[in-house]
Subunit: 444 residues, 2 copies
């Protein structure tokens, strides 16, 4: 059945996909370009991974929840299941553990790409969405995690965002408590869920039912309040009562010290009750927020056991920005992203286009974008079109009534205009982007 | 079953996908960046389309051969078939005919993205591959097709490729002959196939079997030789004997005239026997080649009837580069693409990293990429690592035996080195990228 027969059918898009028209695409490219530049300045180099792979290979690096949300298809050649990538980190972990396993460490890898997840579309998050991130592979030290957090902050700054904050947790802190309690799977999940929602009442109920040693119970109940500035570390130190959580806390203390040395501590909120993030996280984990948007804009953490699933064990840490949410944040904070059309739009009424062609070539040689009007319509209509495409200036050659060999230049922003000869323009095309003479400056 | 149990399993990639490691990814981004800049200079603005859509919607704009080669999957929510995009032009045609239908024309749209086709991998062509292209929508005139061909040439030039050639055909020329002959479907396909292979013997056999009027037979048999410079137009004019082919020839004559005015005719080969390309082509169609690579690197043409499948009819023309083939062509022609690591690599043996951090910040502020060695190893090993990541210079702070507060600077390209105080470097970090003093220039 032809789609033509069903009005509107041929324009339908599946839920959760996005179309970026020119202005929005320009903003997206601006954001991605700025982030790639931050990544480059910190010595990270881009890697491009396949959009789809064998599902069972991708599954090695992902948890079941993510596996369920993957877009899957059958490889018609092998009959094996393929899946669209839902997370870049496991792909890069595998590449680091296999193709790059003999390269000296650390590896500093970056990416800017789309990922695919079957999820209910929500704030700035679609089923196909764009991430820009880095992986720092081969370093167990807190300096490496600090570098990730510093780069996240640099990313916000490079985009002109302010009032941002990084929530830093340590997944091993809670795991140490869980290990002490050794609850059944359902209770562990309920505890995690209560912490995720910072639901103190439910947490109290669960602790009551578990009946742990009082010190452990106190620590568990304190978790939602172990959130804030440096004093969190002191409070936690008084409560902590198992070696695994102690090591986690020491690690967080060291990262906090380094962030202070970086001069970044004002942006840091410590959160020992943080239990979100991928199950492959194995140490510090963080999320970035900005004022004006109620969802995290970046997230990451240490994953020391992921590479070992594909090859020799190797410590690693990384993080990624959510590009669409950054676009929303820029809007929310009123940060203007320059969105421009061509610098010059040429309307040529003459038959012989030689002058227009020569001038276009000269202007492009200067790095100026030039579009030509190749359509028959009135001058006013052409000028309206130039405005629509956000052109800077309009050059009118051979308009009815104009002197032969002259061209009228109109600045669409100021409304100023002037007339030059084509010979003048060809001799020095730069004048087309210099400020125009004020009113009355029209030359004979 | 865990992939770990099967050695090598967890590293398998499906046939036809690609992984770009840092050097290759840098080359790809360089190529895409140059092409996007050419597109911008001609007034084209990027659009980003969804990677997948409903199959029946994509099918409206594509021929059956391409539909068969699409990656398909079932939308778990609606049960409808989804497909990964196999061609960007039909997506943009639909967007132009629907979302952008009321925008004043012409639309100048660009894209740089991946497409997916089930094909046997061949020279520079994978199942997921990258295209950079433009669509010029709303213009029926030959000037628009000329703009496409001129931009293809500009693209080759911007990449530093030379010895390139654009083969320009006109699909209506052959269709005019077919219309006269009115052969059955199988014969039409056989004729097309014989022309594609420039198989004169088979063509003669088919013409013999058809028994057309002698003038039409002569024209058909001449098609494979209607290939070359301007004289092709004269030869064709003597042979042409149906109105549809005549109109096609007039159109090609006009485009050839315009290409001469653009000063580009030296790169043009006319090919009236060209029958390749998408079935949606409706006029001039072209392919670009460079010396050193036996496959087309770009292709495009006019498609005046595609938008009408989605909305009101609207003329259009466009073309796309194949990014992977351009990468092969650069290699074949020995064009070097700059592939760099960080400008500065800092090896810091001191405990207090304040100086290294401050210097890194200053250098990044100057736009210089700085990576830090956060690993404990010998100096020589660290320097070998710096070479591996293609760093420009190494800065060694607090090496065993070095005076406190000094840093040694080593240029990895020249082997020159010098010593500065950290205070000197912090006062003027630019000196880190200025030429180093010649041998003997080591300061006290």
């Amino acid at each position: 059945m032809s789609a033509i027969e069903r009005p509107g059918f041929s324009t339908q898009l599946p839920k959760g996909v996005q179309l970026y028209l020119p202005d929005e695409a320009a903003r997206k490219r601006h954001v991605e370009g700025r982030l790639l530049e931050v990544f480059r300045l910190w010595g990270f180099r881009e890697v491009i991974t396949p959009s789809y792979e064998y599902f069972d290979v991708l599954a090695v690096g992902t948890d079941e929840a993510l596996q369920e949300r993957m877009f899957k298809l059958v490889d018609r050649e092998t009959g094996r299941m393929l899946a669209l990538r839902a997370d870049i980190t496991p792909q890069l972990a595998r590449i680091a553990a296999t193709r790059l396993r003999d390269r000296p460490k650390p590896l500093r890898l970056a990416y800017v790409t789309n990922v695919f997840r079957y999820e209910e579309p929500r704030v700035g998050r679609h089923r196909e969405f764009y991430q820009a991130g880095v992986e720092l592979i081969g370093l167990p030290k807190p300096e490496a995690d600090t570098e990730m957090i510093a780069m996240a902050i640099e990313g916000f700054r490079a985009l002109g965002l302010d009032r941002f904050q990084i929530d830093v947790g340590q997944v091993e802190f809670f795991r140490g408590i869980l290990e002490t309690l050794a609850p059944d799977g359902a209770t562990a999940r309920a505890l995690r869920e209560a912490l995720r929602r910072k639901d103190a009442a439910e947490l109290e109920r669960l602790v009551g039912a578990l009946g742990p040693p009082p010190a452990t119970g106190d620590l568990l109940l304190a978790l939602p309040s172990l959130y804030g500035r440096a004093e969190v570390l002191e409070r936690a130190a008084k409560l902590v009562n198992n070696p695994r959580s102690e090591r986690a806390l020491e690690n967080l203390v060291e990262i906090h010290r380094l962030l202070t040395a970086y001069g970044l501590v004002e942006h840091i909120i410590l959160d020992l009750g943080e239990v979100r993030g991928f199950d492959y996280y194995s140490g510090v984990a963080f999320e970035g927020y900005v004022a004006g948007l109620g969802a995290e804009l970046c997230g990451g953490g240490r994953y020391d056991h992921l590479l070992g699933r594909f090859g020799p064990p190797c410590p690693a840490t990384g993080f990624a920005f959510d590009v669409d949410r950054l676009l929303l944040a820029l809007e929310a904070q009123g940060v203007e992203v320059p969105v421009r059309g061509p610098e010059v739009f040429i309307i040529d009424f003459t038959e012989d286009k030689t002058a227009a062609l020569a001038l276009s070539r000269r202007l492009r040689g200067l790095g100026l974008a030039v579009a030509r009007d190749i359509i028959s319509r009135g001058l006013e209509e052409s000028i309206a079109y130039a405005r629509e495409i956000r052109a800077g200036r309009v050059l009118v050659i051979g308009a009815p009534g104009a002197a032969a060999g002259t061209a009228r230049v109109l600045d669409l922003a100021t409304g100023r205009e002037t007339v030059w000869t084509l010979a003048e323009l060809l001799a020095r095309p730069e004048r087309l982007i210099e400020p125009l003479p004020a009113a009355g400056g029209v030359r004979a």
